[in-house]
Amino acid sequence: MNLEDIIQKTKTYYCLECGKCTSICPVSRYDPGFTPRGMIENALLGFDDEVVLNRKLFSCLTCYTCQPECPSDVDFPVFVREARGLAQDNGQSGVCAHSGQLQSLARLMTNPDIKQNRLEWLSGEHRVSDDSDVLLWVGCAPYFEPIFRDVEFSALGVIKSTLKTMNSLGVEPRLLPNERCCGHDALWTGDFETFRKLAEHNAAQIREAGVKKIVFSCPEGYRTFKMDYPAHVKLDCEVQHFSEFVAERIGKNGLKLKETKKKVTYQDPCRLGRHLGVYDAPRKVLESIPGIELVEMRHAGPDSICCGTSAFTNCDSHSNLLRSERLKEAAATGAETLITACPKCQTHFRCATTDRGEERRSTPRLEIMDLANLVANATGE
């Protein structure tokens, strides 16, 4: 595949060069060197190298802020994704954050022979069942746990809270001892080979387990299973985000939420919101907790601003600024807690708040937690 094929496939040739994408792009706002319009123009003029070998190619958050604005309906995120595939073929992989450990781990996980110890965190207080037809997707959480401890983020904490909430709803989910990374990051950084291997492995595991429904606490896994897996593998089960799972059970199944006095604001994760259109379920869950006052940020719902890094590539000073500004917006609502529904949002925001660099003194120190943490706390006695 070359860039011409990608232009044909994504119908980029419809571009009118109006520049709406660049004007709304959250990255362009802080990094003038990144311009979606310019990138498409270069592609259409045949300057392939300017697109494929451009390091800024990996700065796109693929957050889907631009695509709804495009009068010609050009799918820029997919264009970027495919172009990144070409870049990978040319040995370019962007600047990997956390020194590329996460990308390396995804590649290591494609090995079919490894025997992971991924469920050692399970303790007596969690109820799981191997006969259940509901699966809780744990995903990368056991790997994130040690890696992101220094930004005080517990990925397993989110999974434990999800499990606790499911238990108090009377659901004992199944956990797979040998699931792998869903391949989201590999896919969006253009490493299609790794993605395909991971998808095939996961699909085989799930088919073997015979589950009917998969619940995700991570919107990235959710998106990948819902929108990307069907093109590669056959899976016959319903997928759901934790917030949707809880939202449809509010008022039923004896879910009792105790009063939690808190003023919160909600960060729409790009994958859950703009990619999948789930805006109401998390808000419904928040409002169902007595004592919770939800205040919206200036940019909320479809206009929500991304947490600043996707797929752990090209995290730079611009991403940090974007994050810091978003946190200021959250603090401006007067909320004491920022609720997200995505572990990655939390990683990135916590990173911005724990970073003690001179220029970041102004970043507000908000409490940041996952929706699952909040709900699980409210279900406790």
Partner: protein, 142 residues
């Protein structure tokens, strides 16, 4: 496994362990030739990706070795190294790699004997463990 010769990558700090390896050589001590030494300026600069990439490439074991805690040329390199290795251990444990495949040692410049001993032990341990599960991928990556 008969005839299995493990491959080891050793990240050795310039000031202590690399000198120790040199001393082991000049003192004509014997240690198995399974180890490939990578000289780094400080054990504290060993990044998790060095180790992960090496495993990806199919090595069977990795040694990260540097100065003793108080000997560091850069004040607290070994402390940083310990942090990195401990974090990596957890990650590799989840991944299902045996603990013995990653070894952390402090070998001072005068401890040539210790260096030879560490390599001997590692080769023995790895021969018992067999090839790394990522070994098969070596060719594909080349």
């Amino acid at each position: 496994m008969a005839g299995f010769e493990p491959q080891i990558i050793a990240f050795c700090c310039n000031w202590c362990t690399y000198a120790a390896a040199d001393l082991a050589g000049t003192s004509r001590m014997h240690y198995p030739p399974n180890v490939r030494i990578v000289r780094v300026m400080c054990s504290g600069m060993v990044d998790p990706i060095y180790v992960l990439k090496a495993f990806e490439g199919g090595v069977d074991g990795i040694l990260v070795a540097g100065c003793h805690l108080t000997d560091c040329h850069y004040i607290d390199g070994p402390v940083k190294c310990d942090e990195t290795v401990n974090k990596l251990r957890e990650v590799l444990h989840v991944l299902g790699l045996e603990d013995k495949r990653l070894r952390r040692e402090m070998v001072a410049a005068s401890e040539g004997v210790l260096f030879a001993q560490v390599i001997n032990e590692m080769v023995e341990d790895l021969k018992k463990l067999g090839p790394s599960p990522f070994k098969a991928k070596t060719e594909a990556l080349a």
